[in-house]
Amino acid sequence: MSNERKLIAAAKAGSADAFADLVRGYRERLLRFLLTRSPSYADAEDVLQDTLIAAFRYLHSYDPRWRFSTWLYRIAIRNAAKLRGPDLVEIGDLRDEENDPLQQCIADSETDNLWLCARQLLNDEVFAAMWLRYAEDMSVNDISKSLDRSVSWTKVNLMRGRRVLERHMNSGAEKSEAYG
Protein backbone atom coordinates (compact mmCIF):
# COMPACT_ATOMS: atom_id res chain seq x y z
CA MET A 1 0.00 0.00 0.00
CA SER A 2 1.45 3.38 -0.99
CA ASN A 3 1.95 6.15 1.50
CA GLU A 4 -0.83 8.20 -0.08
CA ARG A 5 -3.27 5.32 0.26
CA LYS A 6 -2.33 4.82 3.88
CA LEU A 7 -2.93 8.50 4.58
CA ILE A 8 -6.26 8.38 2.74
CA ALA A 9 -7.34 5.36 4.80
CA ALA A 10 -6.33 7.09 8.05
CA ALA A 11 -8.08 10.32 7.01
CA LYS A 12 -11.22 8.36 6.13
CA ALA A 13 -11.12 7.00 9.66
CA GLY A 14 -11.26 10.61 10.88
CA SER A 15 -7.62 11.59 11.36
CA ALA A 16 -7.21 15.30 10.57
CA ASP A 17 -3.43 14.97 10.95
CA ALA A 18 -3.31 12.29 8.27
CA PHE A 19 -5.37 14.46 5.97
CA ALA A 20 -3.13 17.48 6.61
CA ASP A 21 -0.12 15.35 5.68
CA LEU A 22 -1.95 14.06 2.62
CA VAL A 23 -2.71 17.51 1.18
CA ARG A 24 0.49 19.24 2.29
CA GLY A 25 2.09 18.78 -1.11
CA TYR A 26 -1.01 19.99 -2.97
CA ARG A 27 -1.69 23.22 -1.11
CA GLU A 28 0.70 25.51 -2.98
CA ARG A 29 -0.12 23.94 -6.33
CA LEU A 30 -3.82 24.40 -5.67
CA LEU A 31 -3.32 27.98 -4.51
CA ARG A 32 -1.32 28.79 -7.65
CA PHE A 33 -4.12 27.35 -9.79
CA LEU A 34 -6.81 29.15 -7.81
CA LEU A 35 -5.03 32.48 -8.22
CA THR A 36 -5.76 32.22 -11.93
CA ARG A 37 -9.46 31.70 -11.21
CA SER A 38 -10.08 34.17 -8.39
CA PRO A 39 -10.66 37.90 -8.40
CA SER A 40 -8.32 38.45 -5.46
CA TYR A 41 -5.62 36.73 -3.43
CA ALA A 42 -7.89 36.55 -0.39
CA ASP A 43 -10.59 34.85 -2.47
CA ALA A 44 -8.08 32.27 -3.70
CA GLU A 45 -7.06 31.53 -0.10
CA ASP A 46 -10.69 31.19 0.96
CA VAL A 47 -11.41 28.81 -1.89
CA LEU A 48 -8.34 26.75 -0.99
CA GLN A 49 -9.52 26.47 2.61
CA ASP A 50 -13.06 25.52 1.53
CA THR A 51 -11.69 22.98 -0.90
CA LEU A 52 -9.58 21.20 1.70
CA ILE A 53 -12.38 21.15 4.26
CA ALA A 54 -14.84 19.80 1.70
CA ALA A 55 -12.34 17.15 0.64
CA PHE A 56 -11.88 16.07 4.26
CA ARG A 57 -15.60 15.97 4.94
CA TYR A 58 -16.49 14.03 1.83
CA LEU A 59 -13.41 11.84 1.65
CA HIS A 60 -15.67 8.78 1.97
CA SER A 61 -16.99 9.53 -1.52
CA TYR A 62 -13.50 9.53 -3.05
CA ASP A 63 -13.19 6.81 -5.68
CA PRO A 64 -9.70 5.26 -5.52
CA ARG A 65 -9.81 4.65 -9.27
CA TRP A 66 -9.23 8.39 -9.66
CA ARG A 67 -5.93 10.04 -8.89
CA PHE A 68 -6.30 11.92 -5.63
CA SER A 69 -5.02 15.13 -7.24
CA THR A 70 -7.70 14.90 -9.96
CA TRP A 71 -10.44 14.62 -7.35
CA LEU A 72 -8.96 17.51 -5.38
CA TYR A 73 -8.78 19.76 -8.44
CA ARG A 74 -12.34 18.95 -9.31
CA ILE A 75 -13.50 20.16 -5.90
CA ALA A 76 -11.33 23.26 -6.24
CA ILE A 77 -12.81 24.07 -9.67
CA ARG A 78 -16.34 23.70 -8.33
CA ASN A 79 -15.63 25.87 -5.33
CA ALA A 80 -13.96 28.51 -7.48
CA ALA A 81 -16.98 28.47 -9.79
CA LYS A 82 -19.14 29.61 -6.87
CA LEU A 83 -17.29 32.93 -7.02
CA ARG A 84 -18.67 33.42 -10.51
CA GLY A 85 -22.21 33.40 -9.16
CA PRO A 86 -25.29 31.83 -10.72
CA ASP A 87 -24.79 33.79 -13.97
CA LEU A 88 -21.29 32.29 -14.40
CA VAL A 89 -19.62 35.59 -15.17
CA GLU A 90 -16.03 35.39 -16.38
CA ILE A 91 -13.49 35.73 -13.61
CA GLY A 92 -11.83 38.53 -15.56
CA ASP A 93 -14.99 40.62 -15.15
CA LEU A 94 -14.77 40.29 -11.36
CA ARG A 95 -11.08 41.02 -11.17
CA ASP A 96 -9.67 44.39 -10.25
CA GLU A 97 -6.71 44.97 -12.56
CA GLU A 98 -4.74 46.79 -9.85
CA ASN A 99 -5.14 43.91 -7.42
CA ASP A 100 -4.78 41.09 -9.90
CA PRO A 101 -3.48 38.21 -7.74
CA LEU A 102 -1.69 36.48 -10.58
CA GLN A 103 0.01 39.69 -11.61
CA GLN A 104 1.07 40.24 -8.01
CA CYS A 105 2.76 36.87 -7.90
CA ILE A 106 4.78 37.40 -11.03
CA ALA A 107 7.94 39.43 -10.67
CA ASP A 108 8.09 42.73 -12.56
CA SER A 109 10.81 41.43 -14.81
CA GLU A 110 8.60 38.56 -15.95
CA THR A 111 5.55 40.44 -17.04
CA ASP A 112 5.75 38.54 -20.30
CA ASN A 113 4.68 35.37 -18.46
CA LEU A 114 2.70 33.36 -20.97
CA TRP A 115 -0.02 32.55 -18.46
CA LEU A 116 -0.92 36.21 -18.21
CA CYS A 117 -1.45 36.27 -21.95
CA ALA A 118 -3.29 32.96 -21.85
CA ARG A 119 -5.71 34.33 -19.31
CA GLN A 120 -6.50 37.25 -21.60
CA LEU A 121 -6.77 35.18 -24.75
CA LEU A 122 -8.59 32.07 -23.51
CA ASN A 123 -11.87 31.63 -21.70
CA ASP A 124 -11.89 30.27 -18.14
CA GLU A 125 -12.45 26.61 -19.01
CA VAL A 126 -9.91 26.42 -21.80
CA PHE A 127 -7.44 28.23 -19.58
CA ALA A 128 -8.07 25.67 -16.81
CA ALA A 129 -7.58 22.79 -19.26
CA MET A 130 -4.30 24.30 -20.46
CA TRP A 131 -3.15 24.87 -16.90
CA LEU A 132 -3.89 21.31 -15.81
CA ARG A 133 -2.14 19.95 -18.90
CA TYR A 134 1.00 22.04 -18.95
CA ALA A 135 1.44 23.32 -15.38
CA GLU A 136 0.16 20.21 -13.57
CA ASP A 137 1.13 17.66 -16.23
CA MET A 138 -2.24 15.93 -16.00
CA SER A 139 -3.40 13.43 -18.60
CA VAL A 140 -6.27 14.31 -20.92
CA ASN A 141 -8.50 11.81 -19.11
CA ASP A 142 -7.80 13.37 -15.74
CA ILE A 143 -8.40 16.85 -17.11
CA SER A 144 -11.75 15.82 -18.52
CA LYS A 145 -12.69 14.35 -15.15
CA SER A 146 -11.58 17.45 -13.27
CA LEU A 147 -13.51 19.77 -15.57
CA ASP A 148 -16.45 17.37 -15.86
CA ARG A 149 -16.13 17.46 -19.64
CA SER A 150 -15.78 14.80 -22.28
CA VAL A 151 -12.38 13.63 -23.43
CA SER A 152 -13.04 14.88 -26.94
CA TRP A 153 -14.01 18.34 -25.64
CA THR A 154 -10.76 18.42 -23.68
CA LYS A 155 -8.64 17.37 -26.66
CA VAL A 156 -10.25 19.89 -29.01
CA ASN A 157 -9.94 22.77 -26.57
CA LEU A 158 -6.37 21.95 -25.66
CA MET A 159 -5.55 22.09 -29.34
CA ARG A 160 -7.41 25.39 -29.77
CA GLY A 161 -5.67 26.84 -26.74
CA ARG A 162 -2.31 25.78 -28.10
CA ARG A 163 -3.02 27.36 -31.48
CA VAL A 164 -4.03 30.65 -29.90
CA LEU A 165 -0.91 30.77 -27.74
CA GLU A 166 1.41 29.71 -30.57
CA ARG A 167 -0.03 32.44 -32.76
CA HIS A 168 0.54 34.89 -29.96
CA MET A 169 4.13 33.70 -29.48
CA ASN A 170 4.84 33.91 -33.22
CA SER A 171 3.41 37.39 -33.50
CA GLY A 172 5.53 38.44 -30.51
CA ALA A 173 8.63 37.02 -32.14
CA GLU A 174 7.82 38.83 -35.41
CA LYS A 175 7.37 42.11 -33.55
CA SER A 176 10.66 41.75 -31.71
CA GLU A 177 12.41 40.97 -35.00
CA ALA A 178 10.84 44.02 -36.62
CA TYR A 179 11.87 46.27 -33.76
CA GLY A 180 15.27 44.61 -33.55
Binding site: L48, I53, R57, H60, L114
Partner: protein
Protein backbone atom coordinates in the same frame (compact mmCIF):
# COMPACT_ATOMS: atom_id res chain seq x y z
CA UNK B 1 8.55 18.54 -24.98
CA UNK B 2 7.86 21.30 -27.49
CA UNK B 3 8.71 24.93 -27.01
CA UNK B 4 5.22 26.06 -26.02
CA UNK B 5 4.77 23.30 -23.43
CA UNK B 6 8.18 24.01 -21.93
CA UNK B 7 7.49 27.71 -21.68
CA UNK B 8 4.09 27.15 -20.11
CA UNK B 9 5.57 24.83 -17.51
CA UNK B 10 8.45 27.18 -16.71
CA UNK B 11 6.16 30.20 -16.53
CA UNK B 12 3.85 28.35 -14.13
CA UNK B 13 6.83 27.66 -11.85
CA UNK B 14 7.71 31.35 -11.90
CA UNK B 15 4.40 32.26 -10.29
CA UNK B 16 5.63 32.76 -6.78
CA UNK B 17 3.09 31.40 -4.37
CA UNK B 18 3.39 30.26 -0.80
CA UNK B 19 0.87 29.31 1.81
CA UNK B 20 1.22 31.84 4.59
CA UNK B 21 1.51 30.73 8.21
CA UNK B 22 -1.78 32.37 8.94
CA UNK B 23 -3.52 30.45 6.17
CA UNK B 24 -1.80 27.28 7.34
CA UNK B 25 -3.17 27.77 10.85
CA UNK B 26 -6.63 28.56 9.51
CA UNK B 27 -6.66 25.39 7.46
CA UNK B 28 -5.42 23.25 10.33
CA UNK B 29 -7.99 24.70 12.71
CA UNK B 30 -10.78 24.17 10.16
CA UNK B 31 -9.75 20.58 9.56
CA UNK B 32 -9.75 19.81 13.27
CA UNK B 33 -13.17 21.37 13.66
CA UNK B 34 -14.59 19.50 10.69
CA UNK B 35 -15.99 16.04 11.09
CA UNK B 36 -15.74 13.73 8.14
CA UNK B 37 -19.04 12.31 7.08
CA UNK B 38 -19.19 8.60 7.34
CA UNK B 39 -20.26 6.49 4.48
CA UNK B 40 -23.81 5.34 4.77
CA UNK B 41 -23.44 1.62 4.53
CA UNK B 42 -26.20 -0.85 4.20
CA UNK B 43 -26.26 -3.20 7.18
CA UNK B 44 -25.13 -6.69 6.33
CA UNK B 45 -28.00 -9.15 6.21
CA UNK B 46 -28.19 -11.25 9.36
CA UNK B 47 -28.66 -14.98 8.85
CA UNK B 48 -31.95 -16.05 10.38
CA UNK B 49 -32.32 -19.32 12.23
CA UNK B 50 -34.24 -22.07 10.37
CA UNK B 51 -37.02 -21.77 12.92
CA UNK B 52 -38.06 -18.51 11.22
CA UNK B 53 -38.24 -20.28 7.90
CA UNK B 54 -40.50 -22.98 9.29
CA UNK B 55 -42.65 -20.49 11.14
CA UNK B 56 -43.15 -18.38 8.03
CA UNK B 57 -43.88 -21.44 5.89
CA UNK B 58 -46.47 -22.78 8.32
CA UNK B 59 -48.07 -19.37 8.63
CA UNK B 60 -48.29 -19.09 4.87
CA UNK B 61 -49.88 -22.52 4.48
CA UNK B 62 -52.36 -21.83 7.30
CA UNK B 63 -53.32 -18.55 5.69
CA UNK B 64 -53.85 -20.27 2.34
CA UNK B 65 -56.04 -22.94 3.96
CA UNK B 66 -58.04 -20.31 5.78
CA UNK B 67 -58.68 -18.41 2.56
CA UNK B 68 -59.77 -21.56 0.74
CA UNK B 69 -62.04 -22.54 3.64
CA UNK B 70 -63.66 -19.11 3.81
CA UNK B 71 -64.27 -19.08 0.08
CA UNK B 72 -65.86 -22.53 0.15
CA UNK B 73 -67.75 -22.03 3.38
CA UNK B 74 -70.32 -19.81 1.80
CA UNK B 75 -73.45 -21.81 0.84
CA UNK B 76 -74.62 -21.53 -2.68
CA UNK B 77 -77.42 -19.10 -3.07
CA UNK B 78 -80.81 -20.73 -2.94
CA UNK B 79 -82.77 -19.95 -5.99
CA UNK B 80 -86.18 -18.65 -5.06
CA UNK B 81 -88.65 -20.31 -7.36
CA UNK B 82 -92.11 -18.81 -7.34
CA UNK B 83 -94.83 -21.27 -6.36
CA UNK B 84 -96.80 -22.33 -9.35
CA UNK B 85 -100.28 -23.90 -9.09
CA UNK B 86 -99.98 -26.78 -11.47
CA UNK B 87 -103.64 -27.45 -11.32
CA UNK B 88 -104.31 -24.01 -12.61
CA UNK B 89 -101.95 -24.24 -15.53
CA UNK B 90 -102.26 -27.90 -16.61
CA UNK B 91 -105.69 -28.99 -17.94
CA UNK B 92 -107.21 -31.95 -16.06
CA UNK B 93 -106.70 -35.30 -17.75
CA UNK B 94 -109.70 -37.61 -17.67
CA UNK B 95 -108.85 -41.28 -17.78
CA UNK B 96 -111.38 -43.93 -19.10
CA UNK B 97 -111.21 -46.48 -16.35
CA UNK B 98 -113.96 -48.85 -17.69
CA UNK B 99 -112.46 -51.84 -19.52
CA UNK B 100 -114.69 -53.88 -21.80
CA UNK B 101 -113.00 -57.22 -21.87
CA UNK B 102 -116.01 -58.92 -23.43
CA UNK B 103 -115.57 -56.97 -26.56
CA UNK B 104 -112.07 -58.27 -26.83
CA UNK B 105 -112.90 -61.99 -26.14
CA UNK B 106 -116.28 -62.32 -27.88
CA UNK B 107 -114.97 -63.04 -31.36
CA UNK B 108 -112.75 -65.82 -30.06
CA UNK B 109 -115.64 -67.38 -28.14
CA UNK B 110 -117.86 -67.26 -31.20
CA UNK B 111 -115.12 -68.81 -33.29
CA UNK B 112 -114.75 -71.58 -30.72
CA UNK B 113 -118.49 -72.28 -30.71
CA UNK B 114 -118.48 -72.40 -34.45
CA UNK B 115 -115.63 -74.84 -34.51
CA UNK B 116 -117.33 -77.10 -31.95
CA UNK B 117 -120.58 -77.15 -33.94
CA UNK B 118 -118.66 -77.88 -37.09
CA UNK B 119 -116.93 -80.72 -35.26
CA UNK B 120 -120.25 -82.16 -34.02
CA UNK B 121 -121.69 -81.97 -37.50
CA UNK B 122 -118.70 -83.77 -38.93
CA UNK B 123 -118.99 -86.52 -36.23
CA UNK B 124 -122.68 -87.07 -36.98
CA UNK B 125 -122.01 -87.24 -40.68
CA UNK B 126 -119.30 -89.86 -40.16
CA UNK B 127 -121.62 -91.93 -37.95
CA UNK B 128 -124.33 -91.80 -40.58
CA UNK B 129 -121.98 -92.85 -43.36
CA UNK B 130 -120.76 -95.89 -41.52
CA UNK B 131 -124.29 -96.79 -40.44
CA UNK B 132 -124.05 -96.56 -36.84
Amino acid sequence: MDKLAKQLRDDAQRIDVSVSDELDRRIDASLRAATPETEVTRPAPVARPPLFWWASTITGIAAAIAVIAIVNWQEPEQQVVPAVDLRATVPPIEFELKAETAMLTAPLQEELDRLQSDLKKAEEKVKRDIGL
